[in-house]
Symmetry: C2
Subunit: 353 residues, 2 copies
DNA sequence: CTGAAAGCGCTTACAG
DNA sequence: CTGAAAGCGCTTACAG
């Protein structure tokens, strides 16, 4: 059991073995320039003496820090924990550390945050842009996670298909009057989801879209979305584009005496932690953030490599061919999460987008 | 307007001005060893040539990276975004970058995460420990954010006082039968809040504590907390130790036909983003995370400095003298957030703790 | 007030 | 297969 002591340097282990530090370096980097026996001895010494490589020295020499930055402009985004976790996991697997940058509010803050990351020497940056903001050239490799319809997007969930899944699910349940609830028409993600929902519901189901432009406005018990009137009007399903809106809808319906899901069902997107804790739980779509994070890190990693070859072209991560599938999590109408509804495979996408 | 070009090095700006790099370094570090005029010229050149300091070189020389690690073992903690944001903000102000480490689940993961941070050379680590886990010596300065009653805690909200505030608020509203809802008796934070609540309610108000040991068990519409029975039993206030439990209580009550807040009021802790969006909104206590983050970063920064002076003692951040105050956010019974209720200043703490 | 020099710990051509 | 040497960009005593 090795006791922790002062970590040894490469020069020290070289001295201890009577070889040169160049040899130690070569052995450890495993480029096959050192005999198997010597390599084994060096490996052993590494353990015995408690060698800890100096990232700083390595960086100074190679120009790479092995750290990527993560910018989530809208840090109040409830998805933040999951995204951050997924990115950190994927980055660690690829040998990168993750430096976070906060940039709440203003675009200026976002620029400043990116600046701080660059000063710290990150090799590249992953950005989840705030609605409507475009990320310009920043002289550092970048990967963007947003929506397939965002220009420059690198990878994202297939929000459109998610909408289709939900639309078909609701149609399958027999709803014929559905209220779609969105918040911003400037959000590509929301637009994709709404578009998919409409396509999934098909032409025979009546739907209407409620746009809650100002989230602040619906805070408090005073202001209502007017959902009770919608129920009276025959709407039986309320499909929000994200769980927070669904939660608002659920509580408002309940407060006004509507029985959920008997009289009206409520659904959202993203499967936030509380989606399954509320009563009744909310039917929603879960993003596969692990896959998204992996692809983002991979694309960024490629861009970083490219940016080092002279004339390697702009260091922008290539776009993934297709969006990552979302998973339908059905909770209402049974009170238990059940298997995703199997829907006939057909591309409703081309014709309605 | 300076166009972005290849960032200049310190040696380059020295050459451009015909001075030595040592002088440039001294001028920039502002230790007053360089004449005012020369310093001004150097500053200017810095801007003109687009000087970007090399953190790697600096680190190699000084042994400090200027980066601290952030470990949030329970990353599903809904407070994560706010905490991460607050820490990043405070760290940036103090000149530090923040490297995140995920350690979901196992304690082993937590150890591995800390190891990754250390390998990247962080100067210190801020930890929000998972319930019950104790953080041992790790050979790197550490600051812990948890609860005043956690051994080794560096700084935290005054959860006990928060409980007292809520207890008094409920008492002032005239409730005489209150159900306290907690989840784990192993959590110091929850225990503090419960203790404070009881003290704040005083001896004349009837209360009972419901312990929801297994959060999974209350998921779904099937399993209930049995709140309807409590209402029938005369309980008029449901005080949860965190908002997620309050949300569960609210939706369960509403689903079962209880009018909130007319028949029963619901309160939580932490003021999560949706607390004000549900209908009716939830009365809760907001943590002053900005202050907590500042103190944590400051304490850690001190510990880092100490750890460098020989025999500077163990590199553990000192405990803040007192917990950071929480703010009562009253939302129910008016439908609007109103000013915190003013309570008589008296220390109910000593006698009941 | 300013400069020459050493060195932090690695990696990378280049010789042997 | 192994080693000597240079150099990444800074900072820090130490002289002048």
């Amino acid at each position: 059991m090795s006791v922790s002591r002062t970590p040894a340097t490469m020069t020290e282990i070289a001295a201890a073995l009577g070889v040169s530090s160049a040899t130690v370096s070569n052995a450890l980097s495993g480029k096959g320039r050192v005999s198997a026996e010597l390599t084994a001895k060096i490996r052993q010494a590494t353990v015995d003496l408690g060698y800890v490589p100096s990232q700083a020295a390595r960086t100074l020499r190679t120009g790479r820090t092995g750290v990527i930055g993560l910018v989530l402009p809208d840090i109040s985004n409830p998805l933040f924990p999951q995204i951050a976790q997924a990115i950190e996991q994927a980055a660690a697997a690829a040998g990168y550390g993750v430096l976070i940058a906060d940039s709440r509010g203003e675009i200026a803050q976002q620029t400043a945050a990116i600046g701080r990351l660059i000063e710290r020497g990150v090799d590249g940056i992953i950005i989840v842009p705030r609605r409507g903001s475009r990320v310009g050239e920043i002289g550092t490799p970048v990967a963007i996670i947003d929506s397939p319809s965002t220009p420059g997007n690198t990878v994202s969930s297939d929000h459109w298909d998610g909408g289709v899944q939900m639309g078909r699910h609701l149609a399958g349940l027999g709803h014929c009057k559905v209220l779609l609830i969105a918040q911003s028409s400037a959000s590509n993600v929301q637009n994709d989801r709404i578009g998919g929902l409409k396509a999934g519901l098909g032409k025979n189901i009546c739907h209407e879209t409620l746009l809650v432009e100002n989230l602040e406005a619906i805070k408090g018990a005073g202001c209502a979305l007017g959902l009770a009137a919608k129920v009276a009007d025959g709407f039986t399903a309320f499909a929000a584009v994200y769980d927070l809106l669904a939660l608002r809808a659920l509580t408002e319906l309940q407060r006004d005496g509507t029985e959920v899901p008997r009289q009206a069902s409520v659904s959202g997107f993203d499967d936030l932690v509380w989606s399954s804790v509320v009563t009744p739980p909310i039917t929603t779509l879960r993003q596969d953030l692990a896959t998204i994070a992996e692809r983002a890190v991979e694309a960024l990693s490629d861009a970083i490599t490219d940016s080092e070859t002279p004339f390697g072209g702009p260091a922008v991560a290539k776009q993934s061919v297709e969006g990552v599938a979302m998973t339908l999590v059905v909770r209402q109408s049974t009170g238990q999460a059940m298997e995703p509804v199997v829907v006939p495979v057909a591309d409703t996408r081309e014709d309605s987008r």
